[in-house]
């Protein structure tokens, strides 16, 4: 067995991939589409929410609050209304995401505690509305506190909770779905495509042709896995670049550690793909097993759609056997929280263990099937 024989079959595998438009489409375009789809269509984040103001703008107290709202990162003052009745029309035209209405004589009543202010959110999108109104309320609280200090000269003890979302102050959904999409794509490329490509050769019988050649069975398999390993490196890089430069997800941790985690996950997925190819007799079956058995659980348990924590206990236990879950947890920790290896050691151990077991089982199965 020489390397030349191995590379000849790797080369062929790449030719298959580049000849098949469907494959190319899945490999090159899907990560981009998924990132963009989840990023812009399924977004629940608040970014420069438009706030309309209704009140006496010549009132210095009002002007100060409006100023502070405008300078808030996530809010932006976009218009003035002369009467609260105009809010509804504005929301209907999608002219603003929220409105703030100051009562009559707001400034003069401000210090005796009779000043009135109303925050109106667009309830047709409850999640976003809740988030925007809480930001505006936060600004008001800040103003109130500052005012208390400037009057009494000391800080009045107050029980106002200040809510802050660490690592993700804007509650950007991309922080959640980028690791999920990463898991999904790598899983799909490595498991589904490997399984389908091996089963295809089983179907057409060409696998026999490779096995009757002097290339050892193990190397035949490695040469089939190899291109998908390369493709997943390519995809991993694409997703990372896209999420960093387009979605502005920070990469706080070590890229080397992130890559190591990805490699372990890729090996796990390749082993699953190999196993699927052994148990399925047609490309359709292989695709079905991967779609229903791998992609769906990955979608469900990866936190792209539902948070794992709100699931029934049984489903949570079940989610533990999904390799993607551990990968996604680690990506979140390393990429978003900037944690080091020590904090992911448990998850890493579990995933590496899964990789070892799956790889051993699939290679053993493959060998016995040949005899």
């Amino acid at each position: 067995m020489t390397m030349r024989e191995f590379w000849a079959s790797v080369r062929k595998e790449f030719l298959h991939i580049f000849r098949d438009r469907r494959t190319i489409l899945i490999v090159m375009i899907m990560p981009v589409i998924q990132i963009i789809l989840f990023g812009f269509a399924v977004s629940t984040e608040v970014n420069e929410a438009r706030v309309a103001v209704c009140g006496d703008m010549s009132d210095p107290q009002v002007a100060r609050i409006v100023d502070r709202i405008d300078s808030n990162r996530y809010l932006e003052v976009t218009g003035e209304l002369s009467a609260p009745e105009e809010i509804e029309g504005l929301f209907r035209r999608n002219g603003a995401d929220a409105a703030i209405c100051f009562g009559r004589n707001f400034g003069s009543r401000f210090h005796d505690g009779r000043a009135q202010v109303r925050i109106v959110g667009d309830g047709s999108d409850p999640n976003t509305a809740r988030m925007i109104t809480s930001y505006i309320a936060g600004v008001l609280q800040d103003v109130q506190q500052d005012a208390d200090i400037s009057i009494s000269g000391e800080k009045v003890p107050s029980m106002t909770p200040v809510v802050k979302f660490m690592y993700n102050p804007a509650m950007k959904s991309s922080y959640n779905f980028v690791p999920g999409v990463m898991g999904l794509i790598l899983m799909l490329i490595c498991s589904m495509m490997t399984a389908v490509s091996i089963v295809r050769e089983k179907e057409t019988g060409t696998l026999e042709l490779l096995l009757v050649s002097p290339v050892k069975p193990l190397w035949v398999i490695l040469s089939k896995l190899m291109p998908y390993l390369v493709l997943s490196v390519f995809n991993f890089t694409t997703i990372l670049l896209l999420s960093h430069y387009v979605m502005e997800v920070p990469v706080n941790g070590s890229i080397a550690l992130l890559s190591l985690v990805a490699v372990v996950f890729v090996v796990t997925s390749l082993a699953i793909g190999l196993l699927v190819s052994e148990i399925s007799s047609s490309q359709r079956t292989a695709m079905l097993i991967c779609g229903m058995g791998l992609t769906m659980p990955t979608m469900i348990f990866s936190g792209i759609i539902f948070p794992c924590e709100s699931m029934p206990a049984v489903l949570q236990w079940f989610s533990d056997i999904i390799p993607a879950k551990w990968f996604i947890i680690m990506v979140k920790k390393v990429m978003i929280q900037g944690d080091g290896f020590r904090s992911i050691i448990v998850e890493f151990g579990i995933l590496a263990g899964m990789a070892a077991v799956l790889l051993a089982v699939s290679i053993r199965n493959f060998r016995t099937r040949l005899q």
């Binding site: 020489t2 030349r4 024989e5 590379w7 000849a8 079959s9 080369r11 062929k12 030719l15 298959h16 000849r19 098949d20 057409t204 019988g205 060409t206 026999e208 042709l209 490779l210 096995l211 009757v212 050649s213 002097p214 290339v215 050892k216 040949l370 005899q371």
Partner: protein
């Protein structure tokens, strides 16, 4: 040992659980001989052939293929045999040149050798213009002759042909056999399975497997004489008719 024989098989048995697919067969194939391996579907042909090709281990029995032990030296056997099956011998989504290059590569040929072989092959088969066409686009007869040539790319001592000419007319089959004769004349042993009795007539010797055993083995002329049959068709019907096993 057995240097006169390309294939030398003694008491070969292959069992799958309770089922005995190959039941104690013994035979020899001389170097440069064209040996027809006949039998109905399910007679055990394919199983026996897989063992000879180093794809499967026998349950018991012994033998050599190209001088190498069928139990212990499977890797060496694979290096010294060629294999072709009509059903699946080319990758349809690769071009003719890419197919040749692939098999040259996995049989360990150097780039320069592959290049030379490719040009020689395209000339010999008179398909020079089709070199960059996808294998899927070739007529079936061309595909078969191309896969046969590819099976010979590493100059094997023996070439196994598993029903090489399915689905083509007798004229195309005859042209294919010219290629086989040519190869055998140069000393390569041909081991061929077939359903077509006109092909069986072309062989130096044929064996007919029935229920996992070799029920008859001789030259086509010898078989016809001993069974008083007009042609190989009749020979096959008489011998295979003794089968008790279901297909």
């Amino acid at each position: 040992m057995n240097t006169g024989y390309a294939i030398h098989i003694r008491n070969l048995v292959k069992k799958f659980g309770d089922f005995t697919a190959v039941d104690n067969i013994s035979f020899d194939v001389r170097k440069g001989e064209i040996f027809g391996f006949l039998g109905a579907n399910g007679a055990g042909k394919t199983t026996a052939m897989r063992i000879l090709c180093g794809l499967s281990r026998p349950t018991s029995g012994s033998g050599t293929v190209a001088g190498f032990d069928i139990r212990k030296e499977q890797e060496k056997i694979k290096r010294h045999i060629g294999y072709m099956s009509q059903k699946f011998s080319l990758y349809p989504d690769l071009t003719v040149r890419e197919n040749i290059r692939l098999f040259g590569g996995i049989y360990g040929l150097k780039d320069r050798e592959i290049h030379e072989k490719t040009e020689a092959m395209l000339d010999m088969l008179e398909i020079r213009d089709a070199g960059n066409r996808f294998a899927a686009e070739l007529p079936l007869g061309w595909k078969q002759r191309l896969s046969f040539s590819i099976a010979l790319i590493h100059s094997p001592q023996i070439v196994f042909l598993d029903e090489p000419t399915g689905g083509v007319d007798p004229e195309t089959r005859r042209r294919f056999w010219e290629l086989i004769y040519d190869t055998a004349e140069h000393g390569t042993t041909i081991f061929v399975t077939t359903h077509y009795m006109d092909e069986a007539e072309y062989c130096d010797r044929v064996s007919i497997m029935v229920d996992g055993r070799i029920a008859a083995m001789d030259s086509p002329a010898g078989l016809k004489e001993s069974l008083a049959a007009r042609d190989m068709d009749e020979v096959f019907r008489i011998v295979a008719g003794r089968a008790v096993r279901e297909e």
